[in-house]
């Protein structure tokens, strides 16, 4: 009974394509998805997630559950980086600790849609407004990470690089993937509001194509993740442990917050997955620019090489059983 949902998750096309991507690296196949094709799919997924999410939010309106959930999501993305920072400071300097912690406070959109696919496969309902939580959790973690650098870093950073609040906000809100997700969400919202006929015209692109494009992107993610994995050796066992422990820990906090919010099992899983997932798009891009002292191989290899595959393959079904245990099914 415990192994069943894991197997069922592994046998879904997105996860299978992720695995064949990863396996291709272990077998040294020369399968390659050359740049910028992965970027095409990543842009597409962000645009489609945002657009569909905006429509759903407009449709459902701001019901009782929406605002508390969004507030809790923001809170989690502020707290998790702080916890992570203190755990990491045992072994790493301020720069690396802040950068890695920020990544774990932020989210991975592809992990989120994998969880949605998992729920659809299990015929469990969830609400479109959870995409709002996704969109709102990206920036706060970046802000916390940069503030940690600003206040905890030694004073000898070059003068010209003093971080001003404006540049912190710029990096956290105008980062390419944050911007595309947020603005597509607004486009979806406005469209649903003023131009509902256009929704069905977008549907083949943002809706029907989505699952296949997700599979194609995950094929590439499998390749990239498997290429990253060996680099973790240099990172040491503390970081490797962190990359598995942290998502589990965050999921554990997340499930209790979800219970407090009285989320249904579908929304609860998505909430937990947002807490447990780590960013490999927005945060690394922002950190590379603003905290070059941190080693990008640390925060990328952990999030992409370990946490992401863990969540996709094992994490989601584990979190689901966690949700089922902690949150009793309310009668309809």
């Amino acid at each position: 009974m415990e192994i069943n949902p894991i197997l069922q998750n592994v046998l879904a096309p997105p996860v299978l394509f992720f695995l064949i991507g990863a396996i291709s690296i272990f077998f040294k196949s020369d399968l390659e998805i050359p740049a910028p094709l992965p970027k095409l799919f990543s842009l597409y997924l962000l645009l489609a997630i945002g657009f569909k999410g905006g429509i759903e939010i407009q449709k459902s309106g701001f019901t009782d559950q929406v605002l508390p959930t969004l507030g809790a999501a923001i809170m989690m993305s502020l707290i998790i980086p702080l916890i992570g920072f203190f755990i990491l400071r045992y072994k790493f300097d301020v720069f690396n600790s802040a950068a890695i912690a920020a990544a774990y406070g932020s989210i991975s959109a592809v992990t989120f849609i994998s969880a949605e696919s998992f729920l659809e496969g299990q015929s469990i309902d969830f609400d479109g407004f959870m995409v709002g939580a996704l969109a709102l959790m990206e920036s706060p973690a970046i802000i916390v990470g940069l503030l940690l650098v600003k206040f905890a870093a030694p004073n000898n950073r070059p003068n010209s690089r003093k971080m001003h609040l404006s540049s912190i906000l710029h990096e956290s809100l105008l980062n390419g993937s944050v911007y595309l997700l947020l603005s597509s969400l607004i486009v979806g919202f406005l469209t649903a509001f003023s131009n509902p006929a256009a929704i069905s015209k977008m549907e083949p692109f943002t809706g029907q194509l989505f699952y296949g494009a997700e599979c194609f992107f995950l094929l590439d993610m499998g390749i990239v993740a498997a290429q990253r994995l060996p680099r973790l050796k240099n990172a040491g066992s503390y970081l490797i442990g962190f990359a598995i422990f942290m998502p589990l820990f965050n999921a554990f906090i997340g499930v209790f917050v979800a219970k407090l919010l009285s989320l249904g099992p579908g929304n609860a899983l998505l909430f937990v997955v947002l807490c447990a997932s780590a960013s490999y798009l927005a945060v690394p891009a922002a950190m590379r620019m603003t905290v070059p002292e941190a080693r990008s191989s640390y925060y990328i290899s952990t999030t992409l090489g370990l946490t992401f595959p863990f969540n996709i393959v094992l994490g989601i079904p584990i979190y689901m059983s966690l949700v089922n245990k902690i949150i009793p099914l309310s009668p309809l």
């Binding site: 050359p34 740049a35 990239v224 290429q227 690394p284 590379r288 080693r295 990328i300």
Partner: protein
């Protein structure tokens, strides 16, 4: 005439080009999507989709004095973000 080769993260491109423009170089060429390994960081094309970008390779053919003029600014950029700069001889055709 000299040839200046600059190789650095694409994310620095705007800063470097600003420096070049301010020095009024006669022109420059930019090749994006370069990858490579420097003493500290590894960059591969595979990460491009993450927005980390890959490296840019900038070639400038110009006089030595222009290079002297830009040296400090370029070195500051490269020392912060990483990257390399080399000068060699070049003769116009």
């Amino acid at each position: 005439m000299k040839r200046l080769d600059l190789i650095f993260s694409e994310r620095e491109l705007d800063a470097i080009i600003n420096t070049l423009e301010k020095a009024n170089v006669p022109g420059y060429t930019v090749m994006k999507h370069a990858t490579g390994r420097g003493p500290e960081r590894v960059v591969t094309e595979d990460m491009e989709f993450t927005g980390l970008g890959s490296n840019a390779h900038v070639i400038v053919f110009c006089e030595q004095e222009l290079i002297d003029q830009m040296r400090d600014n370029i070195k500051a950029d490269l020392s912060y973000y990483g990257g390399v700069a080399y000068i060699s001889e070049a003769t116009p055709l």
